[in-house]
Amino acid sequence: MSILFVLSTFGAAVGVGVIGAILGLGGGILLVPILTMFFGVKLHYAMGASIISVIATSSGAAAGYLRSGLSNIKIGLFLAMATVSGALLGAALVGVVPERVLELIFGAALAHSAFMTFRQLGIDVPAESEAHPLAVRFALEGTYHDRALSRHVSYRATRVKSSIAAMFAAGVLSGLLGIGSGAFKVLAMDYFMKLPMKVSTATSNFMIGITAAASAGIYFGRGDIHPVLVTPVAVGVLAGAYVGTNLLTRLRNTTVRALFLPVLLYLAGSMILRGLGVL
């Protein structure tokens, strides 16, 4: 490994951290292909670096978002419980459930979500809806100061049961297929709970660290976490996440949703192709 390699991976990681912090994704969907295709890193080391980058993005971004009130700790913990239980079930189901069928189902669900996200592109702050009894009971609500709109925005979660089901399913998928579920977390909060898009991505940032921590031990035990590769990636991602957090507070919800749409389309396409056995 040369100094040039270290500096280039650092630069790529800064970009991944910025995007990850804004969109509430760990950055694995970007980092793994970048490291393997452009830097010739072996796939298992790239995946190890990716899981560490998820935790670094989450720690860097969540700290800022929790302080500013953009990330909702109660909604995050409430939904993380569903994801972690789902991930445990998913891990137990490896080899039992036909993975291709699941990939097709989730690919189709993502394609549908992409269509719905497209239809909601122009909506900045969701209209206030009737309070769901579970949202009231578990205080799934909050207020944040929107710098782009120059006003305080209050929100309260709707369709709580559907979002729990979606998060549980996302957990099963990540436990079974070993893929990150940041996009599903954002979707559950944006689509089902009808939270402002920025609250959804910021809260997802808090949650992805928790779910990644649940599986990081597996990667470490397998020897997939290479200190010399992981360090520039983690430092870069953390720096990028810091920039991304500051950017998100200034962006409009509509812009964040527009940036999220291509990620959804990419995920839906790759999952359907994997399900069909093309990838």
Binding site: L77, S85, L88, G221, G223, A234
Partner: protein, 114 residues
Amino acid sequence: MSAAVLTARVLFWGGVVSIALMTVGVLGFALHGGLAPDAAVFTSVSQVVRAVSQWPVDPLGVAGLGILLLMITPALGVVTAFVAFLAAGDFRYAGISGLLLIGLLISLVFAAGG
């Protein structure tokens, strides 16, 4: 201080300290023998502990320590939320944080067995 602010502090300092340890470790390693591609990769906590408890300290062990700290930082955040909610008398969310911690512990047991 609210659970959110306390958790934010733990996540922030967990991230900063682990990144500092990783950077110092890898820089120390590079100064000693360059960035050899076949550098040691740790697969257990005891290997990392051995690497940092010897003299002179193995610089990569210091980086390994930073990686381990980063890996447990989110769990430390949940522990902080649990304690903060408990102290504030919010037993519902103390319970949710507690259940989440149990889930994380079960995953770790799975990881150790797998």
